[in-house]
């Protein structure tokens, strides 16, 4: 599948933003969320910027972005529609939560309640995003539970890594320590989920073959000797993308190392070191490494996924 930059940016950025919101709500419910206006503006501002930026970037790959509002109408059947609707509805509790946490417009107990509702909407949105991919039978690499687990774990994981740094930066030692523990657990879970996702791609039996695509399988091996067109076409550009496939192993190593291993070491060191400049530095390193790693992971998620239509163009099995 063609890895559209707008979709990679959307899923990574809004995933991190929703992840931040989820943990902010958890901390608020536990009574551990520091209430300070400047910090609040920055941390909620960043979370909203990541979510909104991601959602906006996802409209860039549309042929008719001005009609994007129509995408909310088919929630009865379409996961994409459900995702859009959940994202929009989620802004209400998340916005109220931010107002309470930053400006104290109401009691924090109420803030925690709307925060938890907002966090539930955020998780639901991530789940709907994952189902857009996991529901596609045409792409067996995606059509399984590991895709759902990946989106549900990686967004909150990235959000926790961001928050650990921000709390440390503003000197909220208790909250930083709590977020580091959460980030460490999520990073380990993220690594496990991605390793199992890749394992699943490597070991699952093909779903469709050139034989079933043409119905000629009973005659032997089916090979295309004549293409319908001499030059490129939409199907090959969108679904037949294979540039990164030959670099798959290298990208997998980059994603594993930078997305998980380096952040795990940095966050663990952060738990060992006393708060201070060195600790801040390794925590910042975990944020940067994680962003590069997750981008590589998401790129690979698309580039490595084989689509059934390629069976008509020479692929033997998907």
């Amino acid at each position: 599948m063609h890895p559209a930059k707008s979709v990679i940016l959307f899923t990574t950025a809004s995933g991190a933003g929703y992840g931040m919101m989820i943990w902010l709500a958890v901390l608020a419910a536990l009574g551990m969320l520091p209430q300070e206006t400047v910090f609040g503006i920055l941390v909620f501002g960043l979370a909203f910027a990541l979510i909104v930026g991601g959602l906006l970037s996802s409209t860039f790959h549309l042929g008719r972005p001005e009609r994007a509002w129509r995408a909310m109408s088919q929630w009865r059947s379409s996961w994409l529609s459900r995702e859009g609707l959940a994202a929009i509805i989620g802004f209400v509790p998340l916005g109220l939560f931010a107002l309470v946490a930053i400006f104290g417009i109401a009691d924090m107990a109420l803030g925690a309640v709307v925060g938890v509702i907002g966090a539930a909407m955020a998780l639901l949105t991530l789940y709907f995003t994952s189902m857009i991919y996991a529901s596609l039978r045409t792409i067996p690499a995606w059509h399984n539970g590991w895709t759902v687990a990946g989106y549900l774990v990686l967004g909150p994981m990235n959000g926790a890594v961001f928050l650990a740094f921000l709390f440390a930066l503003f000197g909220f030692a208790d909250a930083a320590a709590a977020m580091r523990s959460i980030a460490l657990a999520m990073l380990l879970a993220g690594l496990a989920v991605k390793l199992l996702y890749w394992q699943n791609i490597r070991t699952s039996a093909p779903v469709s073959t050139a034989g079933t695509a043409t119905g000629l399988g009973h005659l032997g091996k089916v090979e295309m000797t004549g293409s319908p067109h001499d030059s490129d076409n939409y199907l090959l550009r969108e679904m037949g993308f294979r540039i990164a496939r030959k670099h798959a192993e290298k990208l997998r190593r980059i994603a594993t190392l930078l997305g998980f291993v380096v952040p795990i070491i940095c966050v663990a060191l952060g738990l060992v070191f006393a708060e201070g400049p060195l600790n801040l530095l390794v925590t910042l390193l975990s944020v940067i490494a994680c962003q590069i790693g997750i981008t590589a992971e998401r790129w690979l998620f698309f580039a490595e996924a084989k689509h059934a239509v390629t069976l008509y163009y020479g692929e033997q099995a998907v």
């Binding site: 008719r64 009609r67 009865r76 596609l136 039978r137 043409t214 076409n233």
Partner: protein
């Protein structure tokens, strides 16, 4: 609404006979001609007269070669277009309602006025039936010539999809595959018509008829042997040929 209809009154579709198709691409060309000037127009081309022509087509003709373990091969020409599936995944994934399946005849269509060009339907279709029009920013697909098959301005015999009316070999048939008594349904039953990628659970309406078994190895060997002996022997030749042979030798 992009929920699929429970049932459709008719299941209009195509039957493609892979035993007859000669791979001439006439169906693809006539499809392009009709749809570039009718309801679906424009059917965009990019760089049509340049070095890398590209564009939107509803019909694509592949050629495959099969090879079995005994080393016997077969060439099969294979037209590929929308199968107007009963459980069309391209319809249910659509977030806007632009993609729909008609209750009256089962034809799967795109309402180009509300399509946002998210391309998700093309991801959901295993058959490559949907192509994105970069100029219009919307998805396009085979309409089963909905603007031709019901067109009262055309003579009755012309009210079939363009690919069917143009096929010089008669490899394509059109009709109601939901009616077991229809000509197409009888054809499918008689020839063992099959679904493409049934494991994708799309329940295609269009059916493909398999190529008939080729002649066995012995018959295949005969061609070169006959050619070799034709130079030498007059056995079985006509009176004049034998007479000319006798004079000249």
């Amino acid at each position: 609404m992009t929920s699929l209809p429970e049932t459709t009154a008719k299941k209009l579709g195509l039957v493609v006979d892979l035993d007859i198709c000669v791979g001439c691409h006439a169906c693809a060309v006539n499809c392009k001609e009709w749809n570039a000037s009718a309801k679906s127009a424009p059917l965009t081309d990019y760089d049509p007269y340049g070095k890398k022509p590209d564009g939107v087509w509803f019909n694509r003709i592949h050629t495959y070669e099969t090879l079995d373990e005994a080393g016997h091969g077969q060439t099969v020409h294979f037209p590929r277009s929308c199968l107007h599936c009963e459980d069309a995944p391209c319809v249910t994934v659509c977030p806007t309602g632009a993609s729909y399946k008609r209750e009256e005849d089962g034809i799967v269509l795109v309402n180009e006025d509300i399509c946002i060009g998210c391309k998700l339907c093309s991801w959901a279709c295993p058959y490559g039936a949907r192509e994105y029009d970069e100029n219009e920013g919307v998805m396009k697909k085979c309409t089963l010539c909905v603007d031709k098959i019901y067109n009262k301005n055309l003579p009755e015999e012309s009210r079939v999809p363009a690919c069917v009316s143009t096929c010089p070999a008669g490899a394509r048939s059109f009709g109601d595959l939901g009616d077991p008594e229809s000509e197409v349904s009888k054809l499918v039953a008689a020839r063992g018509g099959y679904d493409l990628m049934p494991e994708q659970e799309t329940k295609p309406v269009n059916k493909y008829l398999p190529p008939r078994p080729r002649q066995d190895g012995r018959t295949a060997d005969k061609a070169p042997r006959m050619l070799a002996s034709a130079d030498e022997s007059t056995e079985g030749a006509g009176v004049i040929a034998r007479w000319v042979d006798k004079i000249l030798s």
